[in-house]
């Protein structure tokens, strides 16, 4: 089982790239430890800015740095970054079009039993609703690294969400199919299309294996690029299947499920079921316990697919 969380993968890429690109700057809000950025801060103090517990300041300072040619990566818990500094993200990053990468760490329900103050189950909806803000939820450490490398190639704002805990690998080291803003098709089938993002990709892939045992063939799509959503991939997958399931670590409204449903409804109407967290504070527990409780695991996804395929 992989022991490297996606956040650490981000730090490793940035520590490598900063050797040749002195414009890379990492900013934290008393969050360097939880962002896995301590090694970066220690080794590259001149490229690191601590702002203290001040998330609004974190984002605005990043925008100012970007405006003067720097490539800031602002890492702070997703719950605070996406809500406390929402307006700074909207005005100073998106509207002013500054080259800021916002890294929401410990995203979704990573913080488990700490409760709703520490959960970010609204960040996809909130960030996606901002014009000129891109939203990415990579599925594993290898894809995370690819994404960071690609984000260094452009000069536009982006919001990236990663979880706190290491997640099982979806891809293999040195063999990561990745095209910027194009979803990755993990397997293809004709009964059901499962479209997932972030930490829900791996259980979706495992669900496809369970379904195969029951002679149900599934397409699984890693939609790490929630915005801009890869519409072509959605349409193609939906056209080839009887029904669509979306899976995400997010509230039921405004997330991946809502966006996929919009596209399917407009382009190739089919039944779409959104598997999400509830519209309520989630039950107390570790993230695994919470996922299991709400059926956001391989078995839960497979069961939902069986039920759905039976009824179409």
């Amino acid at each position: 089982m992989n022991k490297i969380p996606n956040r650490q993968a981000i730090c490793e890429v940035l520590m490598d790239k900063v050797k040749t690109d002195k414009d890379i700057v990492v900013l934290c809000s008393d969050s360097r430890g939880s962002a896995s950025m301590t090694p970066f801060a220690n080794e590259y103090p001149d490229n690191f800015v601590e702002v203290g517990i001040a998330e609004q300041n974190l984002v605005s300072i990043s925008a100012g740095l970007a405006k003067c040619g720097k490539k800031p990566f602002a890492a702070s818990p997703a719950c605070f970054l996406s809500t406390r500094s929402y307006e700074q993200a909207k005005v100073d990053c998106a509207y002013s079009n500054t080259n800021v990468t916002l890294i929401g760490i410990s995203g979704g329900i990573s913080y488990g039993a700490l409760g709703m103050s520490h959960h970010s189950a609204q960040d996809i909806a909130a960030m996606s609703a901002i014009p000129n803000m891109r939203v990415y939820l990579p599925s594993d450490r290898f894809q995370t690294a690819c994404l960071i490398e690609n984000l260094l190639q452009d000069e536009k704002p982006a919001y990236l969400r990663v979880g706190r805990n290491p997640v099982e690998d979806v891809y293999k080291e040195g063999n990561v199919p990745f095209e910027m803003d194009k979803a990755t098709v993990l397997c293809e089938g004709t009964d059901v299309a499962i479209i997932a993002c972030g930490e829900m990709v791996k259980p979706s892939l495992d669900a496809a294996k369970l379904l195969k045992e029951q002679c149900i063939s599934a397409t699984v799509i890693d939609m790490y690029c929630v915005k801009p959503l890869d519409k072509d991939a959605v349409i193609k997958a939906a056209q080839n299947a009887k029904a669509v399931i979306t899976v995400e670590e997010h509230a039921p409204f405004g997330g991946l499920g809502s966006m996929v449903s919009q596209v399917v409804a407009a382009e190739c109407p089919k039944r779409v079921i959104n598997m999400t967290l509830p519209d309520a504070p989630v039950i107390t527990g570790t993230s695994k316990e919470v996922f299991d409780y709400y059926g956001l695991n391989a078995k839960g996804i497979a069961d939902k697919a069986v039920e759905l395929v039976k009824n179409v």
């Binding site: 040619g69 100073d92 079009n97």
Partner: protein
């Protein structure tokens, strides 16, 4: 431009024309801030249409973005766009001259409009200057009512912490905000002690509508090393005409024909008095 004070009344007139033509605008704060903008753009900052791509240019962010009409007038006077164009099109359907600063227009670095953003953004700009050992300076202007925003104090703290002596923040201390006196809405004084306690060098400008006094203050800020500077510009909201001066309701008010006549006459009288 020898007599900038006289010139300030010419620009004030343009601002009023813009507001009448666009049927809206934040006239009171335009009148209090315009001398600050003129001093910065015509005496202090190395910003011009020719050097907007120069990484060594000074940086400016109008944090009190609602005073955009004064900003447009000064930018037009600097040659960034045409004064006639902005007066004719301000706030009209499809216009690029929006009611708050927008960086699609030449000369404008950052979009603003929501109060409390300018200072933290300028801290990023100032930090970048330090990192790259460039000697440009960074300026922002905030309203005094704006100071109630918590984000301003996050910025005040960080600028002091990082000893950003390439940063100069200006407060347009006109003692009014939308609902009335700043002291009634949310007690302010003493701003001098507040900013000093955050590690800033504070320069108290008695007449914040005097270009000479402002110029001296900015020179002092430039000479101050090891800490950021705050220019506390004690201004008059609506400065330039007795019709508007120190009247809260002129925060945003479009002058009637009658009022405009009086305002223009007042501008002319004061203009004459200073030449």
């Amino acid at each position: 431009m020898d007599n900038l004070t006289a010139f300030s009344y010419d620009l004030r007139k343009k601002v009023v024309e813009m507001i009448i033509e666009g049927k809206g605008g934040h006239i009171g704060g335009d009148m209090s801030v315009i001398d600050i903008l003129i001093t910065l753009y015509f005496k202090q900052m190395n910003i011009s249409p020719e050097n907007m791509d120069d990484p060594n240019r000074d940086r400016f962010v109008l944090s009190k973005g609602h005073s955009v009409e004064a900003y447009y007038a000064v930018l037009a006077a600097k040659g960034f766009f045409s004064m006639e164009d902005v007066i004719a099109n301000f706030s009209k359907f499809g216009s690029k001259y929006i009611g708050h600063p927008n960086n699609k227009l030449p000369g404008i670095e950052m979009n603003s409009g929501s109060l409390g953003h300018g200072l933290p953004v300028c801290i990023g700009m100032a930090l970048a200057g330090k990192m790259d050992t460039r000697d440009y300076r960074v300026y922002t202007v905030m309203g005094d009512g704006e100071l109630a925003e918590g984000s301003v104090w996050e910025g005040a703290m960080a600028a002091g912490h990082y000893k950003l002596d390439n940063l100069c923040a200006v407060i347009d201390r006109n003692r009014l905000q939308i609902s009335g006196s700043t002291e009634d809405v949310m007690h302010h004084d003493s701003q001098i002690e507040r900013w000093q306690s955050f590690g800033w060098h504070v320069i108290d400008v008695k007449n914040g509508n005097s270009i000479d006094e402002l110029d001296a203050a900015f020179n002092e800020a430039k000479a101050t090393k090891g800490q950021p500077s705050l220019v506390l510009a004690n201004t008059v909201k609506g400065c330039g005409s007795k019709v508007m001066e120190n009247v809260a309701s002129w925060h945003h008010h479009v002058p009637t024909e009658e009022e405009a006549k009086q305002i223009f006459a007042d501008f002319e009288e004061r203009r004459e008095a200073c030449i």
